[in-house]
Each structure stands twice: as C-alpha cells, then as structure tokens.
Symmetry: C2
Subunit: 242 residues, 2 copies
Amino acid sequence: MSTFNIDDYISQLSIDCVIFGFKDKELKVLVSELTYGDNLWSLPGGYILKTESVDAAAARILKRSTGLDNIYLEQFRVFGDENRILQSKYKENIKQGLLQLNDKRFDEKTIAWMANRFVCIGYYALVDINKVNPKPGEFGASIEWRNIDDLPNLTHDHDTIVSYGLKALRQILDEKLIGFNLLPKTFTMKEVKELYEAVHDTSFPMNNFQKKILELNVLERLGKKFTGAQNRAPFLYRFKEN
Amino acid sequence: MSTFNIDDYISQLSIDCVIFGFKDKELKVLVSELTYGDNLWSLPGGYILKTESVDAAAARILKRSTGLDNIYLEQFRVFGDENRILQSKYKENIKQGLLQLNDKRFDEKTIAWMANRFVCIGYYALVDINKVNPKPGEFGASIEWRNIDDLPNLTHDHDTIVSYGLKALRQILDEKLIGFNLLPKTFTMKEVKELYEAVHDTSFPMNNFQKKILELNVLERLGKKFTGAQNRAPFLYRFKEN
DNA sequence: ACAAAAGTGTTGACTGTACACCCATGA
DNA sequence: TCATGGGTGTACAGTCAACACTTTTGT
C-alpha cells in the first residue's frame, strides 16, 4: 500500500525530467521501463505537492530517481496540449495496468485522477553519470541509461519532451558553463571536447577548442593522467568552483 | 453576472502575458489597472479551460486584451513558487476587492478558488501597437501601454515575470526573425534599428546594422518615404512573408 | 547653396579555423 | 628510436565596428 494521496498534489499538473549523463563519448538519458505496458518506457516524472515549489518538486523527483541532491536542474518547456494524455494511445494500457497491480496500491479514484489530462513541465538535469545510482520510481520496473539517439519506445509525448530538452541543452551549453556538471570532478580536455561534440553532434578541432575553453579561465590544470599508453600523458583539469 | 465557472478550468494553473509593443523608440508592455486595489496593476492573464491547450488559452487571453488574432506568442517560463500568491502582500486586498464587487460577479467559492496558490505560465507576445485596441479584462479598470522601464506598481510577482519575459525576448530576437512582429507592415531601416536598440538597450552603428539586416534577405525594399523634411528620404521596407 | 539626415565605402582590429609542427610517453 | 597521441604556434580568411564620405531632400 502506498501513502500517495491525490489531495496532497496539484491536479492536472506534472513534471517530467530529462536527466542527461555522459559516458563513452555518448550523451545519455535516464529512462524507466513501466511495470505495466509492453516494453513501454518513460521519463522520470511526478506530481507537485500543494505545499512545495515546482522547482522543489523537480528536485525531489530527481533525487528519487538518482539518489542525488544539489543537481543542475532547469525547466525548459511546458507541454500543454489538451490531448497529450487523453488521446494517448497508451492511456488505456496504463489505466488497466494500474488497476491490475497486485498490491492494489491505487484505488480507482486515484487512477482516474492519474489518467486525466495533465499539463507537463519539462525539466532537464545534468549529472555525473558515475555518481548516479538509478532507482525506478513508483511505476518503474527498471531504469537505465540510454543513448540519446537510441531511445526505447517512450510513452505519451516523452520523445518530444526529450527532443525539446536536448534543444534547450544545446542552447545553454554555449551560454553558461554548465557542461562540467556532466563530467567527473577531474577530466581531460579531450573529454570536454567529446562532451561538446556529443551534445552538438558535430566535431570540433582540438587546438581551437582547447584555446577557447582555457580562455574562459574556469579550469584549473592539475597533474597529468598517466594511463600506461605509449603517448604523451594528457593534463587533468578541474572546474574552478568560483 | 458572469458565466465564469471554476469547474471549467484547470485549478491552480494560470497564464500571464507580457505583451510587447513598440512606439516612439520605446519598448512598451500592456498593463491593466485592477478594479480593486489602490493603483495596483497587473499583466493580462487568465485560466486554462480543461478542454483547451495551454497555447490556445494564451491566444484567447491575448485576443481578449488586444482584439487581435494570429499574434506571435511564445511561452518563456513557469513561475512555480509555492508562495507566489499565498504570501503575496496583495492577496487580502484582492480578496476583499472581489467580494465587494457591486455586481456580485463571483461567489465566495469562486473567490477562494482564485485566491489559492497558482502556478503561472509566462507568455510573451509581439504585436503591432497600431493594430491593438486594448480592452481591460474581467478584473481590469483600465489598460495601458507603459514603457518597459517605467512600469506601474505590479501585483504579485508580475515585475519578475516582465523581466524574465524581456530576457527571453532579447535572446530570441537575435536568433529568430521575430522583431518585425512589433513593427507596422512597412517601416524604415531606422525604425528597425531603433527597435533593436530599444530591446537591447544599447546603440548600434547604422551602416553595419543595415548591412547585416539586408544580408539576411528577409526584407523587400519598397518606395521611399517622403516626410517633407529637408533631407534624403529613407526607403520603406516590408518583411518578406516567406 | 545650405542644413539635415540617408546611405555607402574603406580601413583596421578581432575572431575562428586549417594546417603544420613539436613534445612526452612507453615499448 | 619509433609509433602514438597530446599540445602549441602560425597564417589565412571571414566578421565586426569606427570613421569618413557621398547622396538626396526641402528651404
């Protein structure tokens, strides 16, 4: 049984999070397989308590899925189509699935509440993929990192939400120095370059990229990273905290 | 008496519009004085029907305030603080004002609904100020164009909403060719320059500005504009529709 | 002819990129 | 000493802004 009480939440308003991670030169998104539905996936999401801010709700949802606090998190768009849930081809599936949950977590009234029209606020988050310990949410059977260009079958309009999220990330990556949130504490310049390349899906020449990043004066050069490879060892960098 | 029925609308979710206009080298915003409250102003806003999209609601609100259809309109941010209405210093004022409306338009239940916490979706609109016939909304005593740097006392967090709206306008003005929505059908290059200067609050050298705009290949040069002044007559331009 | 403002051309600084080169590392 | 990949320098092209100049208009 669950402590979920629809009266605690704002109705018809939800949050979905596009959680970005970066590994092996690939930009990844955290997606969760639904317990009901046949190979149907979704973004981590949830509802907003009547007593909490929308940002706090997003942070709470993010913590539930990743275990992480203090994450870079930003709203990027509202998805307000009147039919985005009501006319979704997945709606009946989901309703049936919820009704058949063997632990009877939700009563009919709650399920009707959930199957109503929802206006969704899209957030994106940038996390250090190594720090994340992904946990599926209330409706999730499993949760995985998937490459942005190899996403599974997503419910409702979640594919649209991802693509708007990526668009927003691309815009802001060049304006604000937020990309480092996707990297571990220390990293090489090549990794930074590969991150920018993954996000923008293009390639940048190394020398110019290095010059440009170093000119920003936000990186501190640490020691070298000796990997045992028979080549010059790259420098390690750290993001200056202020 | 009004036909407003709270059951028709999504609760705790509202829209406020920053409607931009341009005249006399000044960027202006449409604001409405509240019938209740003492010299208290607000942005045109409203609620979302359960049966309409959020975008459609914004367009409806815009039409009510300006009389215009088919206006450039874009969401830019959600204002989701849990206290933005509840803790507003204007809240009690407004509640009392609504109760005392002599036509008893709203019953107590409706007023309680309105005085609840609301998550607000901010939209900005760009209009040709000459085409607008401003009309105050349900709660408006009057409605006026005011310079962006000379706004009256705005209710709740509407000043914050305006400043985020302006920030969003500045960003998009350079990315997309939307500025011409603020100008009449035909205009001189100087007017375009003055518009960009008003939005960005800086000055641009004329020759470079002209070159850059013309290179975009989106303007059609028409005849000249003879004003009777003893100087060379400027060209008139029109925005190419495609 | 003159004042006022429109519109254009030239120059020099700056930025971004392609290419070539040198350097450290371990076998 | 050699292959490998990290890191840097230079030169060229394109962009942007300041300044000076010419053109048009009505008195």
